[in-house]
Symmetry: C2
Subunit: 434 residues, 2 copies
């Protein structure tokens, strides 16, 4: 089958059948993924498992480490911190017999965010329990199941006797939840293609645009005393609380400018400043000497992340200079993660048209696109390779929350959709040339 | 020498000479104390060192553990928590040949509060460095040096050929900085005397009254989500910050009632609510699910600690019921340390008169008394034994802070003062009966 031919209409049903035949295995594989804890820095075992799974399928494999120096020289890199993962990036490579079609990167991240207290989950966070058509677990939605959809789409093609007629890179990355350095490392390593698809849980829609994200930490040091000598406000925790309030003003100001991007201007509050973590003090009866707050803030796709970081710094400085305690005990601002621009996936690309046809064939309804106020690794390919970079995946809920889940039915539909996308974008050649 | 005789006027100079002769050893011993870290739960090595030191001086020794059950049944006990120290209480017992005088408890605590970051100290926190007439270190002031003053006062008497003509208990306790359970355990164990002296660093004054203290912890749990779905205020750290503000209102209301005690009514703000410790969240990009804040608040000596605790609980409950997020996710209030009434040392006791004479003889100026807005273990003896309970000790600064120190000169004066107090209160008998 070459690109000049439209997809054989019977291919849809053939592939639907092939996805269905493999679906029990696909769900079992998804559970294997979810059951391997893979918080930041813990992804080693899962990445090795994926390496073995892909090699078992006959892909040529590469596995490589982060290159902190190369990352530091790249404008899209997150800021290195002691928490940065040292887990490898895993790439499975399919090369066709004849490079007839368009090449493709299929990418997913395996890192997950912390679970929070296990008692706040109905089931164990890494249990991958299936109930009422949903698989529950940290990473079940975001985004282990999506990565398995991509693997399973290729499995389904092969089950039907086909393989892509172009190079396909199956990239399993880390650090998506903290810096984006995993995907960036694959890019720096030199993996290039004519389109990228990242099956994040998008609710079966295409992401039209997403926000940039900045992580920063503010560290406070004060002069502790016995609480009986405590002066008003002269303590690090109180200083941190005042600073949080001051940064909320910046958040409000940025949201007031949301109209600068048409897709986000319609949202009530697209920009969120999240106070994700706080710690301070040591002893109930001592005035706290230290405090630290970890922040995450987002920015519109048409803003420059460096300008935004400068604005944060200036806003903080102005507040500090007017605060009696802080001006004498200036806090330390540390960029410790994401330093990422947003991106927009322009309408009208051929890749999107192919995905739209695949989606409609798989789902029986047109593909919708939406802007999402989150970070997604597709920005790497959109910004730095300038290729169509499609974020499209299954229906989930409660990402980063308790009882995170993905809808099982959706996994089957999305797998078929991806298989059909690969078929048309890459073209197909028979697995067995005979 | 019996109680019927006034102190021999020459005794002052004899004892001053004896204190001076032992002073190098006293300072070296104080350094040995300071150099043994003894934060809560870490006091084992220092208590064993003190046990050996006192036994070496010929005291009869007892060493005993906390009895959680007995403590739980006592109204003055702090609330048990997993952080409660398991270090022993050490008592050195002097028994006279003839029980002619008045018995005495000399007590100090060896537990110290956390040091904070070592880089914020000029010298290592446990270095016991001496410079410009001051010894620096965590616990140098509060209150290892005071305990050594008491030991050294008895050493000086002995050097001059005398020993107390009454039973003296030298009590080295723990848990003074968190529950007061160390001193209370000695009381429950049955150690009783006709007066108690606790050489806390009071700046060579007598404590006339001190405040009660309550420790409590408030734990928050919320529903975390991906920050892109974050609703207003629906996160545990924001909830903690709002709750801190609500409890500051209670602090203000209590301070408005400070006139209910004459000694504290003159202070601008005797009641302090200290936000000593906070922790919350796990991940910059997740809405925090949990937060916890450790509070310390004080109360006037004529207030009842149980009423105050009930008032805190009611105030918190009222705030929570009016907060949309918290009313659906009510925080947990935990009493996790001090639950202590304050006390007042009434004027006009014979013990105070004896101390005043000793002080004036040692220092050449009259004894002053003051109220202090802190917790002190003397409350155990004042409240539960109803005996004169004297808190009196050296000049220090920066208790609980960086570069905490005690003034070396003051240690010599206070040691003499305590020796003279013992001489008159207990009476003296020759060490060598020959």
């Amino acid at each position: 089958m070459s690109l000049d031919q439209p997809l054989d209409p019977s291919l849809r049903d053939t592939l639907a059948q092939a996805v269905k035949e493999g679906f029990d295995d696909q769900i079992a594989l998804t559970q294997e993924f979810v059951r391997r804890p893979s918080q930041r820095g813990e992804e080693h075992a899962l990445q090795d498992f994926i390496f073995a799974e892909l090699r078992g399928r006959g892909y040529q494999m590469e596995r490589f480490a982060m290159d902190p120096e190369a990352l530091a020289n790249h404008p899209g890199a997150g800021k290195w911190s002691p928490q940065h993962s040292e887990a490898p990036i895993v790439v499975g490579i399919h090369r066709p017999r004849e490079e007839a079609g368009r090449s493709l990167i299929l990418q997913g991240h395996v890192d997950v965010v912390p679970t929070g207290p296990a008692h706040m989950w109905t089931d164990p966070p890494y249990g991958a329990v299936i109930r009422d058509g949903k698989m529950y677990g940290r990473g079940a939605g975001d985004m282990k199941s999506g990565l398995v959809c991509a693997i399973s789409a290729l499995d389904a093609l092969r089950r039907a006797g086909w393989q892509p007629a172009a190079t396909v890179y199956l990239q399993s990355v880390v650090e998506e939840e903290s810096t984006g350095d995993g995907a960036l490392m694959a890019h720096i390593r030199g993996y290039k293609a004519e389109a990228a698809l990242v099956p994040e849980p998008t609710g079966e829609t295409l992401v039209r645009a997403n926000l940039g994200v900045i992580w920063f930490r503010v560290e406070f040091e004060g002069i502790p005393r016995h609480v009986s000598e405590m002066g008003e406000g002269a303590n690090a925790i109180d200083a941190a609380i005042r600073t949080i309030a001051a940064l909320r003003e910046l958040e409000m100001a940025w949201n007031d400018r949301r109209g600068e991007h048409p897709l986000f201007g319609e949202m009530a509050k697209p920009i969120n400043l999240n106070v994700g973590r706080i710690e301070g003090g040591e002893w109930a009866s001592s005035v706290p000497a230290t405090a630290a707050v970890d922040f995450r803030i987002s920015l519109l796709p048409n803003w420059d992340v460096k300008d935004c970081a400068a604005e944060i710094e200036a806003h903080l400085k102005a507040f500090v200079s007017g605060d009696p305690f802080l001006s004498n005990n200036p806090p330390r601002l540390i960029w410790n993660g994401f330093m990422s621009d947003g991106y927009e996936q322009p309408e009208g690309t051929e890749a999107e048209a192919v995905l739209a046809r695949a989606h409609e064939a798989a789902m029986g309804r047109p593909l919708e696109a939406k802007a999402t106020p989150a970070y997604i690794d597709t920005r790497i390919y959109a910004l730095f390779d300038q290729i169509p970079s499609l974020c499209y995946g299954p229906k989930n809920a409660l990402s980063h929350g308790f009882d995170e889940y993905v809808e099982i039915d959706s996994l089957e539909r999305v797998t078929l959709s991806i298989a059909l996308f690969i078929a048309e974008w890459c073209g197909l050649e028979p697995v067995d040339p005979a």
